[in-house]
């Protein structure tokens, strides 16, 4: 029994980690710009395509291809910001939200027409999908990597935000962007860095997602990002620790429901987990770690 619990906790941590990484990427952009970025999921998808292109088409070694795909994700995030989002910078929440939604829709169509409407298989090395028996616990290599990547990313980001000047500027921008600019911090640097980091996080989670599924399709990133959004709101919109907390909670909730629900209710898993989260939100409108704003 305790092995089963331990197994599920491990599963939950691995899944929650992916949501946490996604949520963190979304919260990064939201806290600086107030932008809800729907195109985040397409960065995930694009990472998958980049991985396929580099490893299968160009024949790069898998490791190199993975890291290059992360770089591609970060760069495309910064590029999308420059090309599509800059004209609406500082606009209302609605305007920015719908712009990202439109960009996301365009990217879907682009992926469908110029790459493939069908899933493309990714050659994942065997060792990555191997599992080890460990005193009754079945530990997947991928789970370990998921956890490892999440932990390293969280620590890395914390170190960056705490100890670098740009990181400090970004934390300040998350509190009050206009004041931060008045302090002489260039807006572009903060915003481009936020997008690049957000893209990198999307790349990490995209890789983990692809490795899990073994294929990439045009709509792959859409649904996990929607869920991550809901996790971010649960944690408290604009709060980075809140995004991580929300992501892990969502992971735990999904794994718990998968394990506990009777089979006739399994099709409603998403409906139940999202309803639970919305109910929590209604009881705590600012999220778990969010705050209400002061009024002057």
């Amino acid at each position: 029994m305790s092995e089963l619990v331990a197994q599920q906790v491990l599963n939950a941590l691995a899944l929650g980690g992916v949501y946490a990484l996604l949520g963190l990427g979304l919260a990064m952009v939201f806290s600086v710009l107030g932008m809800i970025n729907f195109a985040h999921g397409e960065l995930m998808t694009f990472t998958g395509y980049a991985l396929i292109f580099l490893s299968a088409t160009l024949g790069w070694p898998f490791f190199l291809a993975v890291f290059a795909a992360f770089a591609v994700a970060a760069a495309s995030a910064a590029l999308i910001e420059r090309v599509a989002f800059r004209p609406v910078r500082g606009a209302s929440l609605t305007t920015m939200l719908l712009t990202t939604f439109a960009i996301s829709s365009i990217l879907h169509v682009v992926f469908q027409n110029f790459i493939s409407p069908r899933p493309i298989a990714v050659a994942i090395p065997d060792w990555l999908t191997s599992t080890a028996q460990f005193s009754g616990l079945r530990i997947g290599m991928l789970q370990c990597i998921s956890l490892g990547v999440t932990v390293v990313a969280l620590i890395g980001l914390t170190v960056f935000l705490r100890f670098s000047i740009t990181g400090l500027a970004m934390r300040a921008a998350a509190q009050d962007f206009s004041i931060t600019r008045l302090m002489g911090i260039p807006a572009n640097r903060v915003i481009v860095t936020a997008f690049a980091i957000s893209g990198l996080l999307a790349g990490l989670s995209g890789f983990l997602w692809v490795a899990q599924r073994g294929s990439v399709d045009p709509l792959m990133g859409f649904v996990p990002v929607l869920k991550a959004f809901i996790a971010v709101v649960l944690g408290g919109l604009g709060s980075l620790p809140g995004a991580v907390l929300g992501g892990f909670l969502l992971g735990f909730l999904e794994v718990l429901l998968r394990a506990m629900l009777p089979s006739e209710l399994l099709p409603f898993r998403d409906a139940i987990s999202l309803s639970i989260i919305i109910t929590i939100l209604v009881l705590r409108p600012n999220g778990l770690l969010g705050r209400a704003e002061a009024v002057r």
Binding site: I36, I106, Q112, L226, D270, L281, G287
Partner: protein, 602 residues
């Protein structure tokens, strides 16, 4: 009937007429579908436009409406084959399509009322994301709830009874409903809340209630549209009520202008035309020997680009917040101008009493053990150096902010904390240090919203209140377009609109030039003739405070150091010290030019 509405109705009926003239079934189907889309976009606009909150979840209600209508209207025999597990109540009935449609819409409207109550507790961005959740939840219920649906498979065989003419009637009815709601009391209150939540709450507006009602009415219309859709097309599946339609409907609404019924209709027209054209070139075509290859999803790209172009160039949409009436030379739409007296029990005696108020921010004590009473009929000035806690004091005393210790009471009634709405209803009106108007509403709507929200036992008229602050000539102007001084005065008018017993003014003269300040001082002095109105003025303009106030309270470092008459204040050495400080500490010197001793002596 207003000109703009007549034109929109004629447009809908004209489209139906066109279908009749052309006669081809394909054209009739396209036109019926367009008119149903008008119903849907207008319905979505009732929520998104009036509350300013984008909803991704509305197609869910369209879907529920479609399923329910289909189940209610379908003949028994076919129903038995399609939905074998349906409960007997639903399995046995087969209603007239119109009845089925309305029953389904009313049911969904009630569901929307309950769900709206939940969503309206969330702020804008969170509510938007919660509606995403609603869309996903309802979609998976449709796919999984095979008692009432056919899972991911299509429902077919719904009687196709919707002709272009019926669709045109429905579209017209919904346009009239949307227009009525927008200018009704609750529509006005929802729009005020959209413009500024804090100011709306302080004006006694229940943001919760207005948003909930807007949500309910708009889900009713969505279900109506969904039912019409089912009865027009005859076949549908859950995938039709998911992100695809969410995106199209939102694009139509935004391109046309979310805050306008006219905009919703024109957006539906534009995007439908665009889609119809693109749909024809999507499979590829040849033009003058050049063959253009097929591009799957061209309609999506077209819609996306139209949306992006709108957001870049004209984020308020083609019509912005204006209606056809505003551009036509007919009579303009105006809100109700008179608000009759109603039976309300308000305390008519007693003061606004703040007792032992303490408020800390982390380790900083902003206000410490302050006790102050604002009496009826007096003007009380509250002064103090920057950071002395004036604004915090006022925020706590008007129910905007929570505090750590002490109490705020009106008469003998202790007020709840952080419930600005309750304060407004108890007779406390206030203005804000940073002007907070309902920017895109007209001057008279700013005042009318507060009047509509808070009943009074005195009859009130919008123009009377505007006349008090010399703004009666600008009644139909948009608040945003007023000058700074006029905006300040409009804020006072809005606070007066609730017929307050206490008026709290947070730095009303801040940023004004001498002429504007003089006019403002004259207006505030004239408010003395409102019987029993107690006024608290927080300001840095010492000459104005000294001239107007009956009593002056002085805050320094969170403590009330004096509450005296203006004459006594001028001579109080502690006050002078607090204000003009010891010149030695020039590093932390925060005095502003108004505090020169020479000015005090005036």
């Amino acid at each position: 009937m207003r000109g703009g509405l007549v034109i929109l109705a004629l447009l809908c009926l004209g489209a139906a007429g066109l279908a009749a003239i052309v006669g081809a079934p394909a054209v009739a189907n396209t036109i019926s579908y367009f008119l149903i889309v008008v119903v849907l976009v207008t319905g979505l606009g009732i929520y998104v436009g009036n509350t300013g909150i984008v909803s991704f979840g509305h197609p869910s209600f369209m879907g529920i409406g479609a399923y329910l209508t289909a189940i209610l209207v379908m003949p028994d025999a076919r129903k038995g084959a399609l939905f074998p597990n349906l409960p007997d109540v639903l399995a046995g009935i087969s209603l007239h399509p119109l009845v089925g449609l309305l029953v389904a819409a009313v049911f969904v409207g009630l569901v929307g009322l309950i769900l709206g109550m939940a969503l309206s507790r969330l702020n804008g961005a969170s509510a938007t994301i919660a509606t995403l959740g609603v869309l996903i939840v309802v979609h998976s219920l449709m796919v999984g709830g095979t008692t009432f649906t056919r899972g991911a498979q299509a429902v077919y065989g719904v009687p196709k009874v919707v002709t272009p003419f019926y669709a045109a009637l429905a579209a017209t009815a919904v346009i009239i409903l949307a227009n009525w709601f927008k200018f009704s009391k609750w529509g006005l209150l929802a729009r005020a809340g959209r413009e500024d939540e804090a100011a709306a709450s302080a004006s006694g507006i229940s943001i919760f209630l207005s948003r909930t009602l807007a949500f309910s009415v708009s889900t009713f219309v969505m279900a109506l549209g969904g039912g019409l859709f089912a009865l027009q097309i005859g076949v549908f599946s859950p995938s039709e009520f998911y992100f695809g339609i969410t995106f199209s409907l939102l694009a139509m609404l935004i391109v046309g202008g979310a805050n306008s019924t006219t905009g919703a209709v024109s957006g539906a027209l534009l995007i439908t035309l665009l889609t119809e054209v693109l749909r024809r070139v999507e499979p590829g075509f040849e033009l003058g020997g050049i063959s253009v290859p097929a591009l799957f999803g061209l309609t999506t790209i077209g819609t996306s680009l139209a949306l992006i172009a709108t957001l870049y160039l004209r984020p308020e949409g083609l019509f912005g917040a204006s209606e056809l009436d505003d551009v036509l030379p007919f009579k303009k739409h105006r809100v109700a101008q008179t608000y009759p007296a109603s039976e309300v029990t308000k305390a008519t005696e007693g003061a606004l009493a703040v007792r032992n108020l303490t408020k800390t921010y982390g380790g900083v004590t902003a206000v410490s053990d302050a006790t102050l009473e604002l009496k009826r009929g007096e003007i009380l000035g509250l002064i103090g150096p920057n950071g002395s806690g004036k604004s915090t004091f006022l925020s706590c005393a008007s129910g905007v902010q929570r505090f750590d210790r002490g109490e705020v009471a009106i008469g003998d009634k202790t007020m709840p904390q952080a419930k600005p709405n309750a304060f407004a209803h108890a007779g406390v009106g206030r203005t804000f240090q940073n002007i907070r108007l309902f920017g895109r509403l007209s001057v008279e709507e700013n005042v009318a919203a507060a009047m509509a929200a808070v009943p009074s036992n005195r009859a009130r008229q919008v123009h009377e209140v505007l006349a008090r602050v010399n703004l009666e000539d600008l009644a139909t102007r948009t608040a945003d377009t007023l000058s700074y001084g006029q905006q300040r005065r409009l804020e006072i008018a809005r606070a007066l609109a609730i017929d307050p017993a206490f008026l709290l003014l947070d730095e009303p003269a801040a940023g004004m030039n001498d002429t504007e300040t003089a006019e403002l001082a004259g207006i505030i002095a004239s408010l003395r003739n409102i019987e029993g109105l107690g006024i608290l003025i927080v300001d840095h303009d010492l000459p104005m405070i000294l001239k107007l106030s009956d009593r002056i309270a002085v805050l320094n470092e969170g403590r009330l150091i004096a509450v005296e008459t203006p004459e006594e204040i001028k001579r109080n050495p502690e006050v002078a010290q607090a204000y003009f400080g010891e010149r030695r500490n020039t590093g932390a010197d925060n005095q502003t030019p108004e505090f020169q001793p020479t000015t005090v002596e005036t």
